[in-house]
């Protein structure tokens, strides 16, 4: 049904002037979908995400979101210059700017949302700590908290687990399921770990070297498509109901 469509890609080509990074994509993604964006290094995954967010104009075609969609974004790396003496509390305020009073430092709604989000991410203290003094993993959690605090309809994450510790990394699949059940957001996930991503998304955008494929996970994830995209032989099999991908 048309009202269920969250994102429409129409003949979309991404890249920079003089450097095309994808072939033409046409796709309709429904609300509540979990979308994985995969491809080899330099295939244009981050550029694709930035194009979806309107930070980079498409080279051709268009992408349009359902009206009044709200976004949360977790970047690949911390984009904040360490010169800024920003605290974790400042990051959370960035995520909830519209609801804060102009004249007061905080509000009850913000305090409740901040405490709840920090607890959900296992960060029970440290709101006054400077972002530049956090470890890579702590900083990544703080950036995830910033993206989630406003309960966005769409959460876009660009390799969000690269700095996280082993336990959190392996708990994240359950965490995503819990968060999606609670907050009902649509998820767009860029991730290098193919086994991690293909088993938790129902849509895949595969940015290949010569061709971009997009569609349902079961249709896109084939030995031929992945081998072509990564320029390497891959083997796919199912184990305990989950897709397992191995490089040969």
């Amino acid at each position: 049904m048309a009202e269920d469509v969250l994102l429409t890609l129409k003949d979309l080509v991404v890249g920079y002037p003089g450097r095309v990074l994808s072939s033409s994509m046409t796709l309709e993604i429904p609300s509540g979908a979990r979308v994985g964006i995969i491809g080899a290094n330099g295939s244009g995954k981050t550029t694709f995400i930035k194009t979806l967010l309107g930070l980079i104009p498409p080279l051709e075609g268009s992408c349009s979101w359902k009206n009044e969609t709200t976004f949360g974004y977790v970047p690949q790396e911390n984009q904040i210059d360490p010169l800024f003496p920003l605290t974790v509390d400042d990051l959370l305020k960035m995520g909830m700017m519209g609801t804060l009073s102009r004249f007061r430092g905080t509000s009850r709604a913000f305090e409740e949302a901040a405490s709840r989000t920090m607890a959900e991410l296992g960060m029970t203290e440290g709101r006054k700590r400077l972002v530049r003094e956090l470890s890579g993993g702590q900083r990544q959690r703080a950036l995830i908290a910033r993206a989630l605090i406003s309960r966005p309809q769409v959460l876009l994450m660009d390799e969000p687990f690269s700095f996280l510790d082993y336990v959190f990394h392996h708990k994240q699949r359950q965490l995503f399921r819990d968060w999606q059940a609670k907050f009902a957001f649509s998820l767009f996930l860029v991730e290098h770990d193919l086994n991690l991503v293909v088993n938790q998304v129902d849509w895949i955008i595969l940015l290949g070297r010569n061709k971009t494929l997009c569609g349902r996970t079961s249709e896109i994830i084939t030995t031929e498509a992945l081998s072509e995209a990564y320029g390497s032989n891959l083997h796919i099999h199912k184990e305990k109901g989950e897709i397992q991908i191995h490089f040969l």
Partner: protein, 310 residues
């Protein structure tokens, strides 16, 4: 935050005491003749706090030299107004037109920077350098064709730190109130858009608008301060107090408050030492600012040792 505030208050008192210790008679005269000095003193202090407030954003955005480019833009506007007035045989002495023209050209300079920044493949420093060179070159060209009003132009461009009048003060205080009010109301927008424009744009905030408004306050602040105490002291006050405040800082609020405090006390200290030793006032302000750089290094060393002990 309180301990840093107390530390720098004591450092200010110490500098005053040093002047008094070496020049007790001159110090007595300085305080006795306050009626002669209070307008430039207040003017300098207001310029200092304004420059320090704006300087925090300049340092955080890594565009320290933008104030020099904007000053040159203002200078170009002033030269052009005198040149055009000369063509029609008019005099701009005492007229606000030259200052208005300076402000318009300074705003255009800032807008040019804001519009091209991050959209062209060059660094901010190169862009600022190009703008500075263009404005300076045009000033020399146009200046060569201006026969009258050189004294008025110099007054507008470099100010006179010791000759601040009541009307200068009114203009400066009015502009400061506007700028401070805008920064109080939109402090989060200015800070967060400077820190992570991509995230703020994704969240639906008009990042270009907030950056242009920030540059507008920067331009207004530089134009009015420059004509009150001169461009070099303004540049020093935009760099030194924010640098000290951001060093060792635990929050943005702390940095802002400390920078404003230092910005407000450094110019009066400059006047004080200029009076005691008959130094040029602008240069005395810069030396006073540099004295605080030394003090801040002591602070950093002391706090570093204390944290190691903990």
């Amino acid at each position: 935050m309180r301990s840093r505030f107390i530390f720098y208050s004591l450092a200010t008192a110490l500098l005053l005491a040093v002047g008094w210790g070496f020049q007790p008679v001159e110090t007595k005269h300085f305080f006795q003749d306050w009626v002669l000095w209070y307008e430039p003193l207040i003017g300098g202090s207001v310029c200092g706090l304004l420059a320090a407030l704006l300087g925090v954003y300049m340092l955080l955005n890594r565009i320290v030299f933008i104030s020099l480019a904007i000053s040159q833009g203002a200078g170009l506007g002033i030269f052009i107004s005198f040149f055009i007035a000369g063509l029609f045989g008019m005099s701009l002495a005492g007229s606000p037109m030259a200052l208005v023209s300076g402000f318009v050209f300074a705003s255009l300079t800032a807008l040019l920077f804001a519009a091209t920044r991050r959209s062209v493949s060059t660094t901010d420093e190169s862009l600022i350098g190009l703008i500075y060179c263009a404005a300076s070159g045009l000033i020399v060209f146009i200046g060569d064709r201006i026969s009258e009003g050189r004294h008025d132009i110099e007054n507008l461009l470099f100010g006179s730190a010791v000759a601040v009048t009541g009307s200068d003060l009114v203009l400066l205080v009015a502009a400061t109130l506007v700028i401070v009010l805008l920064h109080l109301l939109f402090r989060r927008e200015f800070l967060y858009v400077s820190a992570d424009p991509a995230f703020m744009a994704i969240r639906g905030h008009k990042t270009k608008f907030w950056m242009v408004l920030l540059y507008f306050t920067l331009t207004l602040g530089i134009t009015v301060s420059m004509r009150t105490i001169g461009s070099l002291p303004v540049f020093a006050l935009m760099v030194v107090p924010p640098w000290i405040a951001l060093n060792n800082s635990r929050s943005t609020r702390e940095s802002m408050i400390l920078a404003i405090f230092l910005g407000a006390v450094i110019p009066p200290l400059g006047y004080y030492f200029s009076f005691l030793y008959s130094f040029p006032t602008g240069a005395s302000m810069i030396v006073a600012a540099l004295a605080f750089v030394g003090i801040s290094l002591l602070e950093k060393r002391a706090t570093g040792t204390a944290s190691l002990r903990r």
